[in-house]
Symmetry: C2
Subunit: 297 residues, 2 copies
């Protein structure tokens, strides 16, 4: 296999994702500025090490970025010694970070001016599915660019779907994060009401899980709330970032999101309380504090 993949952003998600690319037989070039451990780990797995994003790009056919938010992606791609400086025409940047759709479109426009193609391709599934290579990828970009990158994405994911033009992947991701955030609040309102009414929240969970209230989030998070286990999982501060991107996007395009805005403020209050690193299911604490009761088995 001749395709060489550059991978920038070897964090909790990026490290296992890049390892799955190696397992699938791709040549890999990595660089890391934040900490050296993951870079050395990848080097031991056969990846080449480059000093800068520019050098990564110069050696790659496809560059993947997996970074916290748009400022980091913009710095790595468009900044000094960035991907754009090392890119030759025909390179594809696949940004798998979860960022604002408008930031994706801006990046794509800057890259297009240099003959570089781009997909936005955020994922859902979290660390366990990054390790298993069973992430869900929601992609935006040109069909022919998507088709070219599809086998590479499939080495990290079980589901890889093209949603629309560049930015559409991140729109789908924001839609997902809105539903998850509001559903966490819904579960919290329901279970705290039950507890305050003197009814076992555990039995309410059992009674409703098979009906219209049932779903993946209730199954995953209600037990964490009932067991008081708020280790991440998905960090509250990352959900704040996603809702900030959703609200910014919504305000730009004119789509009021009143409940998303309310849940955002609840998450902010919990962050002020020092819970930014906890699992986002800790949202139940906001309601518990208001109602002066705990949801537990």
């Amino acid at each position: 296999m001749n395709t060489t993949i550059g991978f920038i952003g070897l964090g909790i998600m990026g490290k296992p994702m890049s390892k799955n690319l190696r397992k699938a037989g791709y040549a890999l070039v990595v660089c890391g500025h934040v900490n050296k451990g993951p870079v050395e780990e990848l080097a031991a797995a056969g990846a080449r090490i480059a000093d800068t994003p520019r050098q990564v790009a110069a050696q790659s056919d496809i560059v993947i970025t997996m970074l916290p938010n748009s400022p980091q992606v913009e710095q790595v791609v468009l900044g000094k010694n960035g991907v754009i400086e090392g890119a030759r025409p025909g390179l594809v940047l696949v940004d798998m970070s979860s960022i604002a759709p408008l930031a994706s479109r801006k990046l794509a426009a800057a890259l297009a001016a240099r003959g570089v193609e781009m997909l936005d391709a955020p994922v859902s599934g979290g660390e366990p599915r990054a390790i298993d290579g069973t992430l869900s990828v929601m992609a935006g970009g040109k069909k022919e660019v998507f088709d070219r990158c599809y086998p590479v994405l499939k080495a990290m994911a079980s589901s890889v779907v093209l949603i629309g033009a560049v930015g559409a992947g991140n729109v789908a991701k924001l839609a997902n994060q809105i539903i998850v955030a509001l559903n966490l609040a819904a579960i919290s309102e329901a279970l705290v009401l039950a507890a305050k009414a003197g009814v076992e929240p555990q039995l309410v969970f059992q009674a409703i899980r098979g009906g219209m209230a049932g779903g993946a989030l209730l199954e995953a998070k209600a037990p964490l709330m009932l067991d008081r286990k708020f280790d991440p999982g998905f960090r509250l501060k990352l959900h704040i970032k996603d809702l900030a991107n959703a609200l910014e996007t919504a305000h730009d395009i004119g789509a009021p999101l009143p409940l998303t805005a309310s849940v955002m403020e609840m998450l902010q209050a919990l962050k002020v309380d020092g819970l930014g690193e906890a699992d986002h299911s800790v949202l139940v604490r906001y309601y518990e504090k208001m109602s002066k009761i705990e949801v537990k088995r």
Copy 2:
């Protein structure tokens, strides 16, 4: 089988539920004040007809009520010619209506003073599952009363769960209705944002349904929104009734429900717009109107 069941409230739900009791071989006594059609239909299926709830109670071992809300239940049970007037000690009232938990407790106390036992046993599942006899019953009451009524409830339901003391069934039902209402709003915010951002809501639905945003409600209601099919289903005005009971209960016991209150106002706005008889998934219209766009395939 010697048990005679009285059934009061032969509406969309009560009629098929009572028919399933006949199918299971129970002797049935019915009465109907609102319209005569269902009463005659049940008589043709072998039910005796009584003139008043009092006469129903006098001939029954267990009386089931399936009525719109607590005022109707209170009238039928405690009012003139009500169940309580015809009841002998040992009768059990099983109220399967969805009413406020505090109203259930008040009823149970009034009945207990006359030696009559009570369960609150609201259901989820809607008309199709009432017809199939596969409802979910969430019950509150004494264990021995629940055990006595269990086979009767099982003739109408696939899942019959005792949640706690009288009122607990309706607490579980309210928890269910809160999650469903807020999740409908969540789906609406997500799909309207996608549409306004120029992305196909249908593709976003496909991309997210397998992940943490996935569940029974998304599967059932997103297609209705995308197809613009707002025939009930579950009528918006009934969801308003449930949220009113949830908020009243929450205010009584001290459990603030800020998002439930917000969604309640959205549903009220749609009712003012003449949509009270539409399926509750018409909530998406509230968002569509704000954002001046439609979610459709």
